[in-house]
Amino acid sequence: MRRHLPVLVTTAVFVAMFVACSLQYPNFASTRVVANLLTDNAFLGIVAVGMTFVIISGGIDLSVGSVIGFTTVFLAIAIEHLGWPPAVAFVVVLVLAALFGAGMGAVIHYLEMPPFIVTLAGMFLARGASFLMSTESIAINAPLYAEISSTVIRLPGGGRLTLIAILMLVVVLAGAVLLHATRFGANVYAPGGSRASTEMMGVRVGPATIRIYLLSSLLAGLSGIVFSLYTSSGYSLSAVGVELDAIAAVVIGGTLLTGGYGTVFGTFIGVLIQGLIQTYISFDGSLSSWWAKIATGLLLFAFIAFQQLSVGLSRRGRRMAGVTAP
């Protein structure tokens, strides 16, 4: 119970916010709003799942926003200018993204450099590469794109669950299974707790690190595909700053930024909370969009302060129980 307190708090905050919104706007509590919430935040949800793995392992990935931008431009050029079938372009871009992430993971592990600066270089590189391909916004008119965006599951109450929203839910589920029920997942938690003891336990940290960053970039690539489906275009400046939204979602979701603790479900709720703030602001109409940033900042602060407090309390509790603190 105590272990799941941060996720429970996050979920309670989300439910409370949703109820408050619904009380103020009777139209709010509808499948339409919920379905749009999922669709509008599908790309963020997917990329945040990858970020959860990275942060639990004690790292950080600043390159994901740029990878999304790169993916959208690559897809636009491959499909529109080179005439590739979209499916081929999807596979190629996912392979590229995965290789990119594996490369960053390898640099982080073998050169023992801080993930912060390595992924910062990755961020420059991916954004620069997308600028080099095209600085203009390219519309994608492939029939598959129109087909995918018109395929929806109609929910009772007028909600339209799009394919990209379903894809996000699938990624969240798959991510949760991968993190909580596989050996790889256990290996993700281990170095976040303590790298030295992880190595002593016999976990091979190198391959795990490479796989974690590979997964993060792969999901960023997938998120880029979703983003290009969502906007039907490719633009080198798209998804600037998404890495911050993803990190914020992970933190609000109760994952410890020092690593070693966190859940995919919490991150999912963190994404929904951010989406809810945006939805509320658009419902209100008179509030300006910059309030979203301030509200997100405040939420971040509240959750980090809460984490700090609970970690401090649990340490004190352990000390009282006679166990030496680490």
Partner: protein
Amino acid sequence: MTLRQPHSGVPQIIALLVILAVNWIVSPQFFDIRLQDGRLFGSLIDVLNRGAPVALLSIGMVLVIALRGIDLSVGAVMAICGAIAASLADSHSLPVTLAAALGVGLLCGLWNGILVAGLGIQPIVATLILMVAGRGIAQLITEGRIVTFTDPALAWIGGGSIVGVPAPVAITAVMLLVTLLLVRGTALGLMIEATGGNERASTLAGIGTRAMTIAVYVWCSLCAAMAGVIAAADILGADANNAGLWLELDAILAVVIGGTSLFGGRFSISLAVLGALIIQAMNTGILLSGYPPQFNLVVKAVVVMAVLLVQSPKLAGLSAALRRRAR
């Protein structure tokens, strides 16, 4: 483990000279400097002038990084302080405007410092809060518009000159001098290095690490506030969305190029400023050579990777082993 040599700065100076030489090859009039209306003009002056905001940021950032911290909020602080300066400039006198802008910068630094040193939150996360919220606050101040002003006194900070030297360059030079005197003229620099190396040991040795950490974050935000005022004065307005955008990354890059390790400890303020100039000289060079400015990011990425390779503890160990064998 042998004690690392103090920073000589030779690689950084060579790098800057090489880049300047390349710029000169690309554009033969690169080193031409002329005096016009009592102010120096020329590409070289331009490098100094355009590099001033990042150089200012790097002065504060190097101290934060030496403490094993990082300040992601400097870009947002620039936006906030620029917005304040621009919106007060036409209705208040210059001292009031400056005091307000720098005062808010001080508060931002205090916030960061208390989160890091008081609550013990990781620096990346603690400053992330202000990074996310700060731009919103700046937009709140400008009410989402681009605020412009006409006050010549504030405009002078961006476009004026003192004995021919552009004002931003002069301000940066003074700030560098003051910081050097404060940090290297006293034992403060040594204490910062000690704290960055091992905070617990330093506390036990009697260094007031908590107060010092807060002071360093305040200094960093103060530098950012100045950079924000300069950036606003330069364009005669404040753009809450784009002022100082991604400059925190440039500042961190400048510090890393300057040879200060992200793992804290030994640092060099002058070399961090030199790093800022190296970045700006590259930017200017790419512009002069007629390549699209998009190349900037790719070049930066390559530079980061090169510096990383040089700084990597693994590679350092390898080269030390090779040298020992050669002996």
